[in-house]
Subunit: 331 residues, 2 copies
Amino acid sequence: MMIRKLIVSLLSVGALVTSINISANEPIQPIKAVKPKNAEVAELGKMLFFDPRLSKSGFISCNSCHNLSLGGTDNIPTSIGHAWQQGPINAPTVLNASMNLAQFWDGRAKDLKAQAGGPIANPGEMASTHKLAVEVLRSIPQYRAQFEKAFGSDLVNIDRVTTAIAAFEETLVTPGSRFDQWLEGDKKALNKAELDGYNLFKSSGCAGCHNGPAVGGALYQKFGVHRPYKTASKAEGRKEVTGKDSDLNVFKVPTLRNIELTYPYFHDGAAATLEEAVKIMGQVQLDRDFNKKEIDNIVAFLKTLTGEQPDFKMPILPPSTNDTPRPQPFN
Amino acid sequence: MMIRKLIVSLLSVGALVTSINISANEPIQPIKAVKPKNAEVAELGKMLFFDPRLSKSGFISCNSCHNLSLGGTDNIPTSIGHAWQQGPINAPTVLNASMNLAQFWDGRAKDLKAQAGGPIANPGEMASTHKLAVEVLRSIPQYRAQFEKAFGSDLVNIDRVTTAIAAFEETLVTPGSRFDQWLEGDKKALNKAELDGYNLFKSSGCAGCHNGPAVGGALYQKFGVHRPYKTASKAEGRKEVTGKDSDLNVFKVPTLRNIELTYPYFHDGAAATLEEAVKIMGQVQLDRDFNKKEIDNIVAFLKTLTGEQPDFKMPILPPSTNDTPRPQPFN
């Protein structure tokens, strides 16, 4: 038994060493596909993610602003909430979000489960309440049955709702990008411009913050390190969480995975194109004015970070019953 | 050759006679699965159906109000349009809509293709223009490639856009309901209450309008034949198309397929439950006050009309390019 354990440990170390070797000198590591720990919980989470009945109006679901057909975001500068309210900040992609050190631009939610409850009850977003959302789900027998399958009893509460949504979101990783193929040894996966762009990405300092498997998401950084970033946005970043003046304009470094899909860019969504985003990042974060060729190469590299997109059947949601609280779209 | 043709013809007649025999005495016929005439056109149509970039805001797609996770409708009395405008009428389901004699409640579009162009350019719905929608699609190389696959050239115009959306919608039929199983000979597919409900549905006159494979959709009828229907809705029905006073409050008879999923009911969405809808229909259309048991039985029958729901992978949409006109959600 001890010997067997020892062998397993040695094998694990071996696997680890191999995996380190592949990208040993690279600041970015490949994304690995994820299998849900509990498939029934993730399946329930998928249903909930697509269900607009979690909103007061019956019109807005998680997928409305984190649209999985569109890279897990809504591709508008700031999101549309209940009654067409304009959101204060750009919707971050839900793809690979499980790799973030915390959720939201200011990191105010410690994980996906803590995040999932936010928009449901935010009057400017889905504008429901946790109590109402739970009442809606509890009134639908097929949902109760899915809670039973997922959790062993048909109890519906917000803790289970957010657990399930987070479990689904944990499956939304995007392995298989051309860049990951290159990292894993296929040296033909990138062309010269892309490789030049990657080398400049490293040598100029981008990779100082945008690193790890998610190419970001692992730390906070001030936006405007060298030159001030001008914005109409009122978002203050980490300061809103910590209260410290030193945290003004400090935001979570966003993932660059699938960045080709998640335009427009920055917390204020002010950069419409990748070229514009790279130019501004060079200026305000690195005190460097990239020339056109440098920008084009970095953009070419960034476009190799698009991975395999979510691949599943559109969920069919169970109908409301006569006991289900009705949506209130217009009052 | 002639003999072979003759045999084939005789076999076809035989098949026809058999199929007539199954439901010979029934006013409702089973729904048959549909194979798209051109799979690439339907595939393009699916992408377009889910693409919110056909709207001015970049937020509203066909699927927003004809949500295929929710029975092809939005389950609110009247729909939410651009800038949260309140629509004038209940969104009809897109499921089995190809079987309707015409589209919209007032039949103002002769078919699905004619319908598809309406909401895109309606200022109260998606609020775009055909010109802008075409410009958006034309700017995206993966869309041009799909138009090429579908139509043989990469020309993008509104005729092709609406042709493709209609081709996708034609695939959205829902065979396999328990009622169809019963029609096709499985006499155990319905229980006694459901069968009693069906018999009452026929004997009381419901099937006078709700008949054919779609259990409706085949004719226009005045809403309020025997007693006036009271509503706050300003919709005038066919009168808005024909200009005739005699067409006031004349609407297309809606399909009852999947009616369990497509609440709330009527053109004004005023009936929240099937029980309420059946009660009112009895009163205003048949001059009959169904008792509770009669209502329950008819509702039990109606719930057997839920068929197989759309079964496909959520489409992944190609990203916009630097040349793509940007959404205008807030102006």
